[in-house]
Amino acid sequence: MCKESYAIHPILSLIYSLLLFVVGLLFVKQIWFWLFFVTFLILFLLFRFEKIIIKTIPFILIFGLIMSGLTIINGNKSDVLYAFYRVLALGLAAILSISVKPINLVRAFNQLHFPRWISLGFLIVIRFMQIFCEEIKQIRQAIVLRGIRFINTPVLWSRAFFIPLIIRVLSISEGLAISLETRGFATNIESSSYQIICFKRRDLIFSCLFLACLAFYIYWFSGGYR
C-alpha cells in the first residue's frame, strides 16, 4: 500500500540532488548565481522542505564561512565569494538528499530490484553510524579516566582507542549477522517490501517545476538570453 507523505520519491530526490549539485557548481561563477539559489529555495519551500532548510542553514553558514576564510589566505574577493557559493550549491543539493529517509530509499531500491546485499549494507551503515558514535564517546571517556593523553603518549592513546573499537566492531557485526541469519536473511533470495514507494502526482508536479527551472538556467548559462 502507498503511504501518503510530503516527501518526494527517494530515487527522484537523489537524481535531482545530483543534477542540482552539478549545475550549481557550474553556475558558481555567474553573476546571477544568487537568483538560481533563491529560485530553488522557493521551490523547496513550496514543497514543504522548510524543516530541512532550517536544519541545514547552520551547517551551510559555518562551512561557508570556513571555506571563505580559508580562501582569503591566498585568493581575491571574487574567489572568496565563489568559495561561499560552492558551499551554497552543495547545501542546495544536500536539502534534497537529506530529505530522503534511508528506509524509504532501501524500499525504493528493493522495488527497482537492486541486489539485496546493497540495500541491507546501506541500512546497516546508516544505523550503525549512530551506534558507533556512542561507542566512540564511551571509549574516549574511558581513555580520559585512565589519564591517557594523545599529546603525551600518542601510541598508547591509539592502542587504547583502536583495539577496543575494533573489538566492538567484531562483536556487534557477529551478533548482527547471527540475528539476520536466524531471521532468514540471505544475499541470494528475492525480497519483498513492507511498504510500497509510489510515484505520486506531487512528484510529477515537483519534477515539472524543477526541470523547467533547471532548463531555464541552463539555457541562460549557455548564452540564450544574451
Binding site: L14, F21, R86, L120, V125, R127, F128, M129, I166
Partner: protein
C-alpha cells in the same frame, strides 16, 4: 598461473564490511567537511588516507574475498551520495581501481602485501576521479587544480605514504586480534 578467485559473500561478510564502513566514515567524519570543498587537487585524498586505509585493511583481513574493497567503496559511496552525490563515483571508482591493482599483482588477499596495497592505495586512486569530476563539473583545468606543482607532489606522496602507514597499522592491529583469536 594462479587466477583471481571470486567467492560468494555471505551475510556475515556483508554485515562486517558494512559495519567497518560505518566506523570508517565516522572516524574520518570530523576531517571530511573541512576538506570537502577545498579546490586544490589531492587535499581530500591526503586528509582521508590514514583513517580509510586503517579500517579498510582490517576489513580486508577479516573478509579476504576478492571484491571486498569494492563493496566497502559501494557502501561508503552510497552514504556519501546523500551528502555530496559526486562522492559516490569517487569512492566506487577508487575502491575498484585500488582492488584491481592489488588483485592483478597478488591474485588474492591471502597475502598481507595485497591488503597493504589495496587499502593503502584507496585514497590515492580518488585523485584521478576528483580531477575528472572537477574538469567536468567545475570546469577547472588540470593546471588550475594542481596549482603549485611542488605542493601537489607533496599531497600525492603524502596520500600514498599515509595510506600505507594506515594500512600497516591496520595490519598490525589485525595481527594482535588474530593472536587473541578475535579476528
Amino acid at each position: 598461473m594462479k587466477k583471481i578467485e571470486f567467492k560468494t559473500f555471505t551475510i556475515k561478510d556483508i554485515v562486517f564490511l558494512a559495519v567497518i564502513t560505518a566506523v570508517t566514515l565516522l572516524v574520518s567524519g570530523p576531517i571530511a567537511p573541512i576538506v570537502m570543498t577545498v579546490t586544490k587537487l589531492g587535499t581530500q585524498a591526503f586528509a582521508m588516507a590514514l583513517p580509510f586505509a586503517l579500517f579498510t585493511s582490517i576489513g580486508l583481513r577479516k573478509v579476504k574475498k576478492s571484491g571486498s574493497l569494492t563493496i566497502i567503496g559501494i557502501f561508503s559511496g552510497l552514504v556519501l551520495l546523500l551528502m555530496a552525490p559526486v562522492m559516490f563515483f569517487n569512492q566506487l571508482i577508487a575502491s575498484f581501481l585500488s582492488e584491481a591493482v592489488a588483485l592483478i599483482l597478488f591474485k588474492s588477499y591471502e597475502h598481507k602485501k595485497a591488503i597493504l596495497f589495496s587499502a593503502g592505495l584507496f585514497s590515492f586512486f580518488t585523485i584521478p576521479t576528483t580531477a575528472v569530476v572537477n574538469i567536468l563539473v567545475k570546469g577547472r583545468t588540470i593546471t588550475e587544480q594542481i596549482g603549485n606543482p611542488l605542493t601537489f607532489i607533496l599531497y600525492i606522496l603524502g596520500a600514498v605514504v599515509l595510506g600505507f602507514i594506515g594500512a600497516a597499522i591496520g595490519n598490525k592491529i589485525s595481527d594482535e586480534l588474530e593472536k587473541a583469536g578475535k579476528l
